[in-house]
Amino acid sequence: MRKLGAVAATGAVLALALAAWTRPLPPAQGGGTVSGKVKFTGTKPAMPKIDMTEEPKCKAKYQGVPTDETVVVNANGTLADVFVYVKSGLPASYAAPAPTGPVTLDQDGCRYHPHVLGIQAGQTLAIKNSDGILHNIKAKAKANRPFNISQPTVMTSTKTFDKPEVMVALECNVHGWMHAWLGVLPHPFFGVSGADGSFTLKGLPPGTYTIEAWHEKYGTQTATVTVAGSETKTTDFSFAAK
């Protein structure tokens, strides 16, 4: 009986040690959630109109005149197109394989859709030209290999980014108003604030994290959040008009 107890105890100790030693994969369901809103304070800046007269095919896709997307303030006083991501806090041994499916960036109406997006390192970026007229995509990457490719007609090109980089600037030089921002991360914990200003980071392993919110004009802000189990923590950010 004592011998059996000793074996069981050893087995339990070994099991615990094994559990501690092997990497904690992100749980398929469950895990912690960090969500929140990105608020905007101050007077909403007027964004310049974009004159697309030189590109009739794109101009025709709009009822009114499109405006510059640098600052998009939602009706409820929140800021859209803010890239929110886990900057640090994941265990050193953490590694998530890049998803097999691509992230799509579409050029439609001579605008990038989405304007701000995230991708995992090693994941495929599918760049689609829905306009059928010449766009070039210049990626002014610094940690990754920069590129400049053209798409003269309706077509899709694929690219991958190997190294994390926040943020890679993308632009079209034929249509100088076209800009997009791409965040490349080694993990899937990122999101972009939408039309209601909210963001959600799901499936986080327990731990204390530095979350960063990035905006192309208003810069960055950070917050520290601790999650455990499958709880949801709320963190809001606030950017002020300059």
Binding site: I149, S150, T153
Partner: protein, 588 residues
């Protein structure tokens, strides 16, 4: 004057027990080196043509998938549809391969090497080993340039003229390693040219046979001599500029980058200071060989031999002071536009003189239309068009309109293809028996000539018209401009003509290769010519002569009243001939 050839004792005709490798691969025999240049350059001529065919596909059938385009990677032609960045690589590499790896080595690398010692009456070049290095550095340069097509981010794409800062900065062009390999290759090409020029100049000055005075040299040798001087002085400027460009590209200098204190126009001045003498390097040897062939085909001496020599010298001299005509609208001081216009208009005169002298040679001749003569007469007819179109560009106000349009593309192809390449087809056919001991097929040579002549003019003449209408160069898709859309039928016509022109060259290539083994065995002097090379067996043996010949007269004594035949070789001694003042060196 002691003959330096006496010290080149390693190259006597009677002694040849070299290994296969020393005989045919690492050879110091000028004839083998010439043949090596011939094989490699013809390969690059084919590459240049293939690149052009792709360009013409896009221009003739814009945005359509190219037949066979599926083998190209997604970065060049997804689904066989050529991308804009690939198109400008095609434009750049077509020009680069044709100028540096086809026409220049065919004219100079082949014929300076092959003809000079034979035509001046000596055993080999003054520096046979340096000559060998001239070929191998050219070969290395070609490999480097070819490899640039296959590297990540693709080949150089700023045009063969490689204007900075587009060529100097990767973030402007989108190319990286490909641009750097271009610069490196050009440095090696410069080296090859310089080494060759050293040989050609020294050999002609020092190693002429007894009796071969300066004014008894064939015009082919005169033109190769003057070309070698041009090369010696011009290629270092190109190589220097290419080194500066390479440094901007890889080690962080900013010679040509205005954003960091450099000057964009500096590249243009350096490039064109080389570039204008370069285009005379690309035509003078052709003119010289055409002179030899026309005199032979007309059975008459060259009309105005001395004028022809002075014209060659004048063209070469004036060629140094016209480079700014490539830069009339570049932003350089407009006063320079005036001075360069004057020098450019003047340089038309010696070319006109040469044209009239060729006609004078044919006048009252007894014309034999062997294949080389067909090509030589076509040269005169086409070169005249190219030269006359140049006058439009020389007039600066007109150039403001036609600069960087297809009018320029038409001009350069009329002089380089209608001129130099036709001359080369003639020269290759003419000296083939002396190189290989066989004749190329005459009937197939005539078929190739006529089809090439027709398709060539159908391809390039209409470019004068699209240029006049304002069509710019290097456009992936001219239909983006409303004023250029009506010209699409002409563009398609040009493309189809170009495809037929390219297909026709298959006849030449097959004729060339097949005749090496199956051609009729060549007699010693199949064209009944007077040059010293025709006094040797076909093919000419290693070391050329056991004993160097003596020269009694000029090279163009056709239909001389002194003899019954209508030709009189330079080394044939007639009873009335006196020995030349300089006696042959004993035992030589």
């Amino acid at each position: 004057m002691t003959s330096v050839a006496a010290t080149a004792h390693g190259a006597q005709a009677h002694h040849d027990d070299r290994s296969f490798v020393r005989k045919y691969i690492f050879s110091t025999d000028h004839k083998i080196i010439g043949i090596q240049f011939l094989f490699v350059s013809l390969f690059f001529l084919l590459i240049g043509g293939l690149l052009a065919m792709q360009m013409r596909w896009q221009l003739g059938f814009p945005g359509k998938p190219m037949p066979g385009g599926g083998i190209l990677p997604e970065t060049m032609a997804p689904g066989g549809v050529i991308l804009p960045e690939y198109y400008i690589q095609l434009v750049t590499m077509h020009g680069t391969f044709m100028v540096f790896f086809a026409i220049m080595p065919l004219l100079v690398g082949v014929y300076a090497n092959f003809l000079i010692p034979l035509k001046i009456g000596t055993h080999d070049m003054a520096f046979p080993r340096i000559n060998m290095w001239s070929f191998w550095s050219f070969f290395a340069a070609g490999l480097v340039m070819l490899s640039s097509l296959f590297v990540p981010d693709g080949a150089a794409r700023a045009g063969w003229t490689m204007y900075a800062p587009l060529s100097a900065r990767h973030d402007y062009s989108g190319a990286s390693l490909g641009q750097e390999l271009w610069s490196l290759s050009i440095i090696l090409v410069g080296l090859s040219s310089i080494l060759g020029s050293l040989n050609y100049i020294t050999t002609i000055i020092n190693n002429r046979a007894p009796g071969m005075t300066w004014f008894r040299l064939p015009l082919s040798v005169w033109s190769l001599f003057i070309t070698a001087i041009l090369g010696l002085l011009a290629l270092p400027v190109l190589s220097g500029a290419a080194i500066m460009l390479l440094f901007d590209q890889i080690i962080g200098t900013h010679f040509f980058d205005p954003a960091a204190g450099g000057q964009a126009l500096l590249w243009q001045h350096l490039f064109w200071f080389f570039g204008h003498p370069e285009v005379y390097i690309l035509i003078l040897p052709a003119m010289g060989m055409v002179s030899d062939i026309i005199a032979n085909g007309s059975r008459k001496p060259i009309f105005g031999y001395h004028s022809m020599v002075f014209a060659i010298v004048a063209i070469a001299f004036l060629g140094w002071i016209v480079w700014g005509h490539h830069m009339f609208v570049s932003g350089m001081n407009p006063t320079l536009g005036s001075s360069f216009m004057v020098s450019t208009l003047i340089i038309a005169v010696p070319s006109a003189v040469k044209t009239f002298n060729w006609m004078g040679t044919m006048w009252r001749g007894n014309l034999r239309f062997h294949v080389p003569m067909l090509h030589a007469v076509a040269f005169v007819a086409m070169f005249v068009i190219g030269g006359l179109s140049g006058i439009f560009m020389a007039a600066t106000p007109v150039d403001m309109f036609i600069h960087d349009t297809y009018f320029i593309v038409a001009h350069l192809h009329y002089v380089l293809f209608g001129g130099s390449l036709f001359a080369l087809f003639g020269a290759i056919t003419y000296w083939y028996p002396k190189m290989f001991g066989r004749m190329m097929s005459e009937p197939w040579g005539k078929v190739h000539f006529w089809l090439t002549f027709i398709f060539y003019n159908c391809t390039f003449f209409p470019m004068h018209i699209t240029g006049m209408a304002g069509e710019m160069r290097r456009l992936y898709d001219p239909n983006q401009y409303a004023f250029l859309q009506p010209l699409q039928p002409i563009r398609t016509f040009i493309s189809i003509s170009a495809f037929l022109l390219f297909a026709t060259q298959l006849i030449f290539f097959v004729n060339f290769w097949w005749s090496l083994w199956k051609g009729k065995k060549a007699p010693q002097n199949p064209w009944e010519d007077n040059g010293l090379e025709w006094s040797l067996p076909s093919p000419a043996p290693h070391g050329n002569w056991e004993k160097v010949p003596t020269v009694y007269r000029g090279p163009y004594e056709f239909s001389s009243p002194q003899v019954a035949e209508d030709y009189l070789p330079q080394s044939k001694k007639l009873p009335s001939d006196r020995e030349p003042a300089r006696a042959p060196v004993a035992g030589h």
